[in-house]
Subunit: 133 residues, 2 copies
DNA sequence: TATCCCTAGTCTCTTTTTGAGAGCGACATA
DNA sequence: TATGTCGCTCTCAAAAAGAGACTAGGGATA
């Protein structure tokens, strides 16, 4: 076993590459949850204001109920959102972001901004790649 | 069709929620690619220095060759990394980050830093959630 | 009164994605 | 001769995701 593993720098901090296996790496443990297909989308919505289940479903038209429930539960489990049930006649459930979720969304929104700003460049790269292949 | 859709703010910019379906949303188009299980991990590695295929495989022990090849191709297609083949006797292939990739990694590394810093809080939230369930 | 719809899910079934592992071809080492 | 190295690709099994039916209890509609 190699103990002299390279230690890459990013943003001034170290990341121990000797434990990049799933179990030990904090980054992977956190990122794997929020890197799902729907997670960032829901975080983006809930960062703006609280939403109810059905509202989120209509907001993201191509998510299935199954994945919406599941993704919300995972985000709740990791402490990014809260789930509040109101015992109205058709029962209603509201999801809202926590402090932790907001603190995550701060850097995350920078990435979303980057995506907006550089979408054209990415699309151009795809065209180039597909042309020469 | 509802044209008066709420427009959430994040980081001072607008995101048109009326096209949150997969085809039209720039954010989803960009994010969906880099939100794979392995993408951020490989970007993180290649942000530090160029790596060869086998090096990456050893660095991320639990990735399959299939997913490593596939994820690298996708990152290459979107213009984040370059692939250079050296016709040595056992052929060697080097992957290195592009300018575009580096510009993405700038905000992305902020999220990775957040993950490092808040791993404990996330784990605590999980324990709390699992206890009351 | 019978029928429908609303809510926030769960359950089942099918399709897509991922993982585990073999094979490849040319050359180096033991 | 046998085995290992390189960067893949291929096949088959397992896991994850998507589509859609079903639930309960009350309110509105016909």
């Amino acid at each position: 076993m190699n103990t002299n593993v390279r230690v890459p720098q990013f943003a001034g901090k170290e990341c121990d590459m000797s434990n990049w296996d799933a179990g030990n790496c904090p980054v992977r443990d956190v990122i794997n949850q929020i890197s799902g297909k729907w997670s960032t989308l829901l975080l983006q919505a809930l960062a703006e204001r609280p939403y109810r289940f059905g509202e989120l479903r209509r907001l993201v038209p191509d998510i299935s109920q199954r994945m919406l429930t599941q993704t919300l539960r995972e985000l709740q489990r990791d402490g990014y959102i809260d789930r509040e049930v109101f015992p109205t006649k058709p029962p209603s459930v509201e999801y809202r972001m926590t402090e932790l979720g907001m603190s995550l969304f701060l850097p995350l929104s920078q990435v979303l901004d980057w995506a907006n700003a550089n979408h054209a460049a990415v699309k151009a790269a795809r065209v180039r790649f597909d042309a020469e292949a």
